[in-house]
Amino acid sequence: MTGGLQIEGLTVRIPGGARPLVDNLSLAISPGEMFGLVGESGSGKSMTARSLLDLAPPEAEIDLRRLIVGDLEIGGADAAQRRALRGRRLALIFQDPLTALCPTRRIGDQVCDVLRLHGWRDARLRRAEAARLMAELELADPERILRMYPGELSGGMRQRALIAMAFIGTPSVVIADEITSAIDASLRLKILALLKARAEATGAAVLFISHDLNLVRHVCARVAVMREGRIIETGATLEVLKRPRSAYTQLLIASAPELHPPRQPLLQSVGQGS
Amino acid sequence: MKGLQNLRDWPAGAAIGIGLVTTIMVLGCIGVTLVQPDVIDLSIRLQPPSPAHWFGTDELGRDLFARIAAGAAYSVWSALAVVVSTASLGGLIGAISAAAPRWVDAIIMRSMDILLSVPALVLAMALAAALGPGLLNAMVALVIARLPAFVRLARNQSLSLQRQGYVEFARLNGAGLGYTIRRHIAPNVAPPILVQAASDISGVMLAAAALGFIGLGAQPPMPEWGALAASGRLYFLDAWWYAVFPAAAMLAATAGFVLLGDAARDHFDPRRPHNAGARP
């Protein structure tokens, strides 16, 4: 497979920890695909994203057999090479857009900074491109938004601005780590639809990390379920939801109230309390 | 004592702290009972340290070790007494201030602000001067001067506790002020106050010494460490031991109490394993 994201044998270990945080994880995402990585807290899903970008805690030992990002292959566990990927071929969208943006600078300036890093020399062209990017994410009146500070925008608008910034320079891979958990429920699907549209338009592979199976169901054709650092089940989302093989996936599905008729006990079907 | 069972879990600093403080306390007990700090022998004035006089002698030929041991009783115990009264009084006033109606809180906190507007040592000096010289009056002055810091700490801690779910739950179920303070506020405010108090002991000892030095605190011939160091200062060039040993005793006591304060903080942390365990 060329392009997209291919991870082979990623292991993250904290010295003295009982088990690896990520245990020999492998997955492949095609260009333009949005792939769901589902797990609960402590499953290692965020650590996977962090170690790919070399943002894991410094004491973590990262072991990686092979990493393919776009048409570039990185062998072994070369942290410097991974770091070089950051922002160019591999972009990250954070959970909380407020802390990801500088609060004292206008949105437009921050978008233009990223454009300049990607070789946009002419300030006027940069500005026009920034406005075009905002419009692409269906932000009304992009010129006005570019003049605003992060604090003046709603959570949804900030997250859209971050998505726009992530796709500058057409990265091969975009990692979205719980990007809707700080956003009001009524906006979540809309923002994910925009993310998906951008991925399809640019051919970026999106690793969509979430705890919300219901959300993943709406936007990802394929999904992997993670627990205790391991992928315990993977496949087509609908197939996994219909015929979960592992008991843990069954528990996760049973736990999602959206997938069940109202006012019926959830965990009876799997016979498991917490 | 349960604390001793857990000594091994404690960081080394705690053990050192306990060691230092215990040594000084024992020294104080010896000082009160066994040695004779006031025996004057002008034939051996300002002798350097020797097997007979471990810390040397002073200008009147009194044994400096005996005087420091006796001084431990005055310095440490008076500092402890000051800190214990400041912490308990300050904690109580702070907790009341936080839980009481707004106007009571305002009166308490504005009076504390007035006290705080004058540096603690200056205030203590003024109060000690007004009350008259003497160790007891100096102690009273120090309690008043150091009260605002504790009231503020206790009040702020209590205020943040008031917004915690368990305090609101108790309030919803008709808990009164006394119950809330006793069961919820005090157990959770006490540890930070204790830590503050433990690290305050050294400051109080120094302040008491300063008062003694300017003649407002302990009066000679009382062998209080500050007074000893102050008189030793006059002979510093000829008899280094006279100023150095009282100062060293103060340093050891200070370090001991600071380390003990840290240990107290660790010990009172409910997240520590021995605290989470079952204990009826």
């Binding site: 997938l259 079907s269 | 079952a278």
Partner: protein, 267 residues
């Protein structure tokens, strides 16, 4: 007749002009045995409503009464009457501050009994706590432990215990599961459902439509401090009238099975 009723409740955090009220002329009634779901997003005023309904926060205007007895009777200290305290209990969002870190779990569980009934005998209270623990699925080994030894789900079960100790008629829950993992949340939801089916009225406040739809018999939708829509759950989910409700439901519940017949995948 309703258990709890709020009439014309208005609450402003910033006094004077300019500050948008957290609650504006809110009218709400909670009936015996029902599960009322109050849904809204951050800043909608739903948590303020929870605080006002329980008596934690005094509103600037309006009246809240239980069984016809006003909740805020006393002039200064907002102390509820014993009758109201026994009848209306509160469970907040789980956070480290929900339980006293220095109080044994059996004591926390039975604190309301001690405060309201004056039951001081530790052995009696321990026995009560043991029964309560069994009721909410907590291991009785945890009775003598401190809250730190509990997981998030166990802490929330203990908070539920604490509310149940005086056998209330109504429990108001503010985001009872939003700090929990999905599979842990499911256990709490089952617990709440069983509680409601046993006759205890619930008022569940949440931003999560999945949770609200799952538990409630009736839904109140809040936006900007105002109730924009209310009605039976099925009606609201099937045909929302307010555009905001429509958005919420389209976003959160697309394709969710509506009834027992259309049971979803996996069960």
């Amino acid at each position: 007749m309703s258990l709890l009723s709020a009439r014309g409740v208005t609450l402003r955090y910033q006094k004077g002009k300019g500050g948008r009220p957290a609650l504006l002329d809110v009218n709400i009634e909670i009936f015996p045995g029902e599960c009322l779901g109050i849904i809204g997003e951050s800043g909608s005023g739903k948590s303020s409503l929870a605080r006002v309904l329980t008596g934690l926060q005094r509103p600037d205007a309006g009246e809240i009464s239980f069984d016809g007895e006003p909740i805020f009777a006393g002039p200064r200290f907002n102390r509820r009457s014993a009758h109201i305290a026994r009848s209306v209990q509160f469970v907040g969002q789980d956070s480290s501050g929900a339980l006293n870190p220095r109080m044994r779990n059996w004591e926390s569980a039975t604190e309301a009994v001690r405060l309201l009934d004056g039951a001081a005998d530790p052995d009696v209270r321990r026995a009560q706590a043991r029964a309560l623990f069994a009721r909410v699925g907590l291991n009785e080994e945890l009775l003598e432990r401190l809250p730190h030894a509990l997981s998030g789900g166990q802490r929330q079960r203990l908070a539920l215990c604490r509310a149940l100790a005086v056998s209330p008629q109504l429990i108001i829950l503010d985001e009872p599961t939003s700090a929990l993992d999905l599979s842990v949340q499911a256990g709490i939801l089952d617990e709440l459902l069983a509680l409601n089916l046993s006759g205890v009225a619930l008022a569940v406040i949440s931003h999560d439509l999945g949770v609200i739809r799952h538990l409630s018999t009736r839904i109140v939708v809040m936006q900007n401090g105002v109730i924009v829509e209310e009605g039976p759950t099925e009606g609201i989910v099937a045909s929302p009238k307010h555009p905001y409700t429509r958005e919420l439901i389209e976003a959160g519940l697309a394709g969710a099975p509506a009834s027992r017949e259309a049971t979803g995948a996996g069960s």
